[in-house]
């Protein structure tokens, strides 16, 4: 069974978590999900599935934005 591990920020509600699982199952065919909470994410979620990482966390996006600012 293909299990996906979803790491969420503390402010992600069950409703939003269910929505993410439904879309992920439809898109990638995952059959089971494992939830984990990480306050470092600040917001959004990270999915680990089939050896791949799908990072949609605010921390990563802010870090990318910050790197662009420091580059200028």
């Amino acid at each position: 069974m293909k299990t996906a591990k979803i790491v969420c920020a503390p402010n992600v509600s069950d409703d939003a978590y269910a929505y993410i699982c439904a879309r992920f199952a439809r898109r990638f065919g995952a059959e089971a999900f494992e939830r984990e909470t990480d306050a470092q994410l600040l917001g959004g979620f990270v999915v680990l599935f089939d050896g791949k990482v799908y990072d949609m966390s605010l921390r990563t996006q802010l870090s990318a934005l910050r790197a662009d600012c420091e580059k200028e």
């Binding site: 920020a9 402010n11 992600v12 509600s13 409703d15 939003a16 929505y19 993410i20 879309r23 992920f24 439809r26 898109r27 600040l42 917001g43 959004g44 979620f45 990270v46 999915v47 680990l48 050896g51 791949k52 990482v53 799908y54 990072d55 949609m56 605010l58 921390r59 990563t60 802010l62 934005l65 910050r66 600012c69 420091e70």
Partner: protein, 171 residues
């Protein structure tokens, strides 16, 4: 004549004898003394002439020396003037060299100071910029952490699943 104690009868003989004595004495003196005296006188004249010549030569030599000294003096003045000019020229050259060196040193100091100031300005600006970025992101993190909603999370999910790749990274 008696009052003088002279004997008249003898006077012509005495006179004659005296005269003869005188003549004889003269002849003797002339014979004996004339030549030496003549010689002496000639020698003295020769000596005087020689001394006169020597004096003349000395005077000429003195004159010559005087002329030489005058020339030397004049030349000395010229040499002294030339030396003074040479010394002044050397001093001027040294002054110019020192001035040029000082100007170059001053220019270098100014240039280094300017470079240092620019470097410190850039460093300060960079540090300040970094502080601003840090502050901005700290504030953004706090704001986002408390303001993100479920709809925002769902939009993140839609963005991931609608894009071909999404936030995919290798694990």
């Amino acid at each position: 004549m008696e009052s003088l104690g002279l004997d008249i009868t003898k006077v012509p003989i005495d006179l004659v004898l005296n005269l003869l004595n005188i003549v004889l004495l003269f002849l003797i003196v002339r014979t004996l003394a004339y030549k030496p005296i003549r010689k002496f006188m000639d020698a003295r004249t020769e000596r005087v002439n020689a001394e006169a010549r020597a004096a003349g030569e000395k005077a000429a030599e003195a004159e010559k020396l005087k002329a030489e000294y005058a020339a030397l003096l004049e030349n000395g003045e010229a040499v002294k003037q030339a030396q003074a000019d040479e010394a002044r020229k050397a001093a001027d050259a040294e002054k110019d060299r020192i001035l040029a060196e000082a100007n170059a040193k001053a220019a270098q100091i100014v240039r280094e100071a300017r470079e240092q100031a620019q470097k410190e300005h850039d460093e300060a600006l960079g540090a300040m910029r970094q502080d601003v970025v840090d502050l901005a992101f700290d504030i953004s993190e706090k704001l986002l952490e408390h303001s993100i909603t479920d709809d925002d999370t769902k939009k993140l999910a839609d963005r991931l699943f609608d894009s071909r790749v999404g936030g995919e990274e290798s694990a």
